[in-house]
Amino acid sequence: MPFLELTNLTYQVGSKKIIDNLCLSIGDSEIHALLGTNGTGKSTLAYLIVGCEGYRPATGSIVFAGQDITDRRIHERAQLGITMAWQEPVRFEGISVAQYLTLRNKELNPAHYLDMVGLQPAHYLTRMVDSSLSGGERKRIELASILALHPKIAILDEPDSGIDMLSTLDIINVINTFKKIGSSVLLITHREEIALSADRASQICNGRIACSGSPQEVVAYYKSKNCLVCGGGECVDERP
């Protein structure tokens, strides 16, 4: 049984279908990479899955661990174990990194989670999660905060963007840590080497799944067809 099952999901703004009858399933403890060119609906899909305000699908359903959660609010889904790390994490005035990492569970040792994302605890624990952090630091802290939740499924929206090239390994380590603690991951990425670290992958084009399979297959498919050129329609195949 798939852990997360999206069936015929459609989300539109005005007459534009941003997510178009999309089907996707992710298994328990599966790392699933989601590839796709800019503006194809990856972040929108993430917002639909976590249940952001205003992101209710026009059609279709979201079923998580056998429960239909399509009408659940964002915190209710989070309490079930669905969470996400945003592509551009927001900043907070007056909230320290230590506090941010222990929002849900005050007993946790926040230093442990900073270590996991390659940040030295001594330098960061008392810093504020505000605009004084660099973009890369903020993203790493977001990842640490998601790890600290021990989610059942984490959606990571481009965890690698804004993080220096050399740190690709750090990101792969983080993804492996999710796997180790038993979390499923929907991993949105533009980086091939990161996609290849997943168990499975899908390519999204114009709000539809164009291809699902092994990361190698999907990366090859993605490279062979340029969605920007085909405009989406042609590369949407019948799968899954």
Binding site: I74, Q79, T83, W86, F92, G94, L103, L149
Partner: protein
């Protein structure tokens, strides 16, 4: 119980520490209404306070080159339900002096209390004053507080003011601060207020950057709920070459509260630069959703965001 004991109980509730009164190395001034209950000076610092027919008059002097190790504690209160407190403060830091002041203004039982502070603060050349003022007005909303200060910061001097009223009701608050900053001087004014019920918050802070390369920052954080109202005016004037000023005002409104911000920036020297930002609105949706995605309920999330803003 003596007035001092009662005031000290309220002081403790407001975050104060009574032990400082017994500490011979810590200067203090404690008054209930127009009655001075306790004062102490320390070496290099003189505190002179007396009751006048219509209030309290206090003079505080920090002598040249004196760098006070421990903060000076001021505690002004009105313990009765009704009362008036007029305070006239005259603070002078002589050349190269340095001091931290921690002031508590406590009106725990107030139903109809008026607190008027008129301060004149003179910070000499190279001197530095940090002045943190915490107000506690109780839960009735019956205080009218009007802190007014005229501050002069000398060459290479610094004034860092921090006003806080974030627990209990506000009642009616009217802050009026004017700081003139001399050459290379620094002024930072921060105010944090949480308004509830039909509280009214008026904050007017003005920083005049008079000297070359002087710097100023006015930072205001106001959160309002219920029917509360706030009008925040931050004025910065850049009148000398190299002067740099910034006004940063954030107001979060909930329920039926109403907030306005009036940043006024004025530059009379082409080599001065003053900027401003003002954000008024409900709690940021992305912040809220981020915390909710961490499993917090909407109410818990708002609470954490608001506490952070007022921190």
């Amino acid at each position: 119980m003596s007035a001092l004991d009662q005031l000290m109980l309220a002081y403790k509730d407001a975050g104060g520490d009574r032990a400082i009164l017994a500490d011979s190395a810590t200067a203090h001034l404690v008054a209930d209404g127009h009655q001075i209950l306790s004062t102490r000076g320390v070496k290099g610092l003189e505190v002179e306070a007396h009751a006048t027919p219509d209030g309290i008059s206090a003079k505080v002097r920090v002598r040249a080159n004196v760098r006070l190790e421990k903060p000076v504690h001021l505690c002004f209160g009105v313990l009765h339900k009704q009362g008036t407190q007029n305070i006239r403060m005259d603070v002078k830091l002589e050349k190269n002096a340095r001091a931290d002041f921690i002031a508590h203004c406590i009106f725990p039982n107030a139903e109809k209390v008026v607190h008027i502070m008129d301060a004149v603060v003179d910070i000499g050349e190279g001197a530095e004053l940090r002045y943190a003022e915490t107000h506690f007005h109780g839960s009735y909303g019956g205080v009218y507080a009007r802190p007014k200060a005229v501050v002069t910061v000398g060459r290479n001097g610094a004034y860092v003011g921090d006003f806080e009223l974030i627990t209990g009701r506000v009642g009616r608050l009217e802050i009026d601060y004017v700081v003139e900053t001399g050459e290379n001087g620094v002024t930072e004014l921060t105010a944090r207020v949480f308004g509830h019920g039909d509280d009214t918050v008026n904050i007017k802070e003005k920083v005049v950057l008079a000297g070359e390369h002087s710097r100023g920052l006015i930072k205001t954080r106001v959160v309002l709920e219920d029917e509360a109202f706030a009008e925040i005016t931050g004025i910065t004037e850049g009148n000398a070459a190299g002067a740099r000023g910034h006004v940063d005002c954030m107001e979060v409104v909930k329920d039926n509260a109403v907030a306005s911000a009036i940043p006024i920036v004025r530059v009379t020297n082409p080599l001065a630069k003053v900027t401003h930002e003002a954000a008024i609105g409900s709690v940021d949706k992305r912040q809220l959703e981020t915390l909710m995605a961490h499993g917090l309920t909407p109410a818990e999330a708002v609470d954490i965001i608001v506490k952070g803003i007022l921190r």
